[in-house]
Amino acid sequence: MLDQFTFIGIFLIVALIFGVAPLTIAFVLRPKKPNPRKAETYECGLQPHGEAWVQFKAQYYIFALAFVVFDVEAVFLLPWALAYNQLGLYAVVEAIIFILILLGALVYVWRKNALEWM
């Protein structure tokens, strides 16, 4: 198994080279004429107005949080799915209870209108 990860390690180095190579070629080939006008922040051609922060929106956070909860659930179900062929019916019932509790969580969040993108 570690042998295969050796390949992944070598492939990682190859992928990094592939990621950096076009940039180095471009670095050699491109013109370099910096100009303060060019370096202004892009705002559809107008002067940039105000700082670059965004108004707080709780919605972004709720979606990421719901993702983490379902993510952890899916990760718990992964070993079960792998052992599925060697397990009996009781294991399926236990996993269905697990899924139903989390389906309940989804319905709760839905009914509380926390999934609306305001």
Partner: protein, 165 residues
Amino acid sequence: MTLQQVLFIIFGAVTLGAALMVVTRRNVFHAALFLILSFFGVAGLYVLLEAPFLAAVQLFIYVGGIAILILFAIMLTRDMMNPNVAGANRQWWLAALVALALCTVLGWTVLNHQWAAPAGDVPPESIVNLGKALVDPAGLVLPFEVTSILLLVALIGAVTIARER
């Protein structure tokens, strides 16, 4: 010095170095990015311990979920581009004392304890065994079901807190 030892030193150095940068950077976004780097280091350590499933879970949940949560929380806070927060406040000497004490206790424990030797090779079917243990009535089925209730409670709590204005 086998290849495994070299890799362990590299991954350990990456993890610890990134963790050090997390607590010393002024720019919070950079600190979060170094945290992600240390997560990658930990994933590498898992691979060295022949637990590729845990490495993938580490990447999937920590980098793909928790780091994203942290980044969202940082980005949605005002004035993050130019933090004028001082690096340390006036009680730093007390904190240094406590940290030193903790370090001494931990170091003494680690160096003086008789650690048990590893129990042999990792079985090739470790993920399948984990799956079977998770639903085994004599195994981990109770923690398995309680985890789902824990996740339910976490989600309800988060929604309740975020909804009160």
